[in-house]
């Protein structure tokens, strides 16, 4: 299983990770269409935190023993067979119990349609997640664990 590791020393706070994440999770996967044509616009599942000179990008850590999976009151949050944590939007009701227990604050509220939790899905269609692949300064890296 792989993990995405942020490196705040080299993060320049450009937020390209957010943009490429949004595009990857848009319908068209086209940067222009995703921003101009798709309404509602999809959400980035990675967040850049920034304060003064410090910045880093953060997305779901795909915890081994994920608190959000244990706490999910509907069963929507689950560990997929590939070890990533996924959210079944069909069963999510937006109670935000996952937000209550995620120690990283890595789950976003998707208020667009059904009020569902939105989080990093590790880009199932890509070899390397979009945020990592498009970081200009290797402030997001992929490491192998276990």
């Amino acid at each position: 299983m792989k993990r995405i590791v942020p490196k705040e020393e080299v993060c320049i706070g450009c937020r390209l990770c957010e943009i490429y994440c949004l595009v990857e999770h848009s319908k068209s996967r086209d940067i222009i269409k995703a921003f101009l044509k798709e309404i509602p616009r999809s959400l980035p599942m990675v967040t850049v935190e920034e304060k003064e000179a410090t910045s880093f990008a953060l997305q779901c850590r795909h915890c081994e023993d994920a608190p959000c999976v244990a706490a999910c009151i509907t069963g929507a949050m689950y560990k997929a067979t590939n070890g990533t944590i996924q959210n079944d939007k069909e069963r999510c009701i937006g109670c935000w119990t996952c937000i209550l227990v995620c120690p990283y604050g890595a789950i976003e509220r998707d208020e667009r349609e059904k009020k569902i939790a939105s989080k990093c899905d590790f880009c199932p269609n890509l070899e390397t997640p979009a945020c990592v692949a498009n970081c200009p300064n290797e402030a997001l890296t992929l490491i192998k664990v276990k």
Binding site: F56, A70, L100, G105, I107
Partner: protein, 426 residues
Amino acid sequence: MKMPEYVIIGNSAAAIGAIEAIRKKDKEAGITLISDEPYHTYSRPLITYFLANKVTWQQMLYRPKGFYRQNKIETKLGQKVTKIEAKKKEVVLENGEKISFNKLLIATGGKPFIPPIKGLDKKGVFTFTTFDDAKKTQKFLPEVKKAVVLGGGLIGLKLAEALAQKWIEVTVVELADRVLSLILDEAASQLVELVFIENKVKFITGQSVKEIIGNEKVKGVILDNGDKISCELVIIAIGVIPRTKLAQEAGIRVDRGIIVDEFQKTNVKDIYAAGDVTEAYDLILKTHRPIPILPNAYLQGQVAGLNMAGKSATYPGSLSMNSVTFFGYPVISVGLTSLTAESSDNGFQVLTKKKFAQRIYRKLVLKDDCVQGFISAGNVDRSGIITNLIKEKVKVSKFKKKLIEEPLGLIVLPKNLREKFLKLGS
């Protein structure tokens, strides 16, 4: 039949937590699951969403359809356990069948508390804790224009929300002077009440129902102060109490709930208990008490399951915590919350941030520089960061003020702490 290694009574969060844990360690040994509810495991909190037609039965399944098959579970659904023979290591079902076990888990959850009120037997009086309750109530709704919900706690309010969404005139009667008094402070209660009032739900606080009136069918209720409210439906949602009868009769130690140690073991060998039926160690109040919330039920079930399968695991204790939305308005409450700034003596400190116009409120209760509880209303984003600080007993004196600011983020934590949490460098 071959004797199953494990027998589990219950088919909800605690039971599922146990099954998933057992199967991590023991892929083969027989597991028999018994539940008096005749359904596939479902999400209990969704029953009010079902009532409001917000979810279908398919969407209520707590685990996917093939769950029992994949986990090689022998199920006995719709069958009640009437007795646990602790010495003989067997459970007895209503139909007389006996099932022996090597290890037993009692995950029988809670049952509604019903106060002694006159007129409970009338048509139109319901409790609301099971899918059957939801179906029965739903069937009855065509006859209902007005409803009274008895109890302004979480279940009562979720019910009031669902009924209001079905265009029923709802009055919530609550004995305390405000709603959600167990998990919120006055300011947050007020914000929640506001949302309900805008959605045409009425509240009567400081009152209880003395009598339910009507002939065969409910026609209304009479309050302690003599006031009468007319309605066709009364739902009792005062609270749930641990369903301990089986355990008690089997000689298992029970106080308010089943008493378990940190391994989720009862005082009887090879019998474990988890979930709403137990008393949990409250990490903040440092006492044992029932804390009937789903995340804890699942985690306790998990710890029980691991121990039953021979792997030592301990349950650190529970935080009382809730995240809930009402008509889309989100509220989170963790730990000790109802301490006010004025009454903050005994070394407690209270920090609050109010933006009432935007309906945003955050409150932090601290002692010895550690967060003991917090409330987030209106904007709950990234609240888990604070929950984690409570669990990890982190000294927050250097950055506590930032914890009530928006936006909340890991960036407000000192770098070393952030790196520790993110497990960087390890």
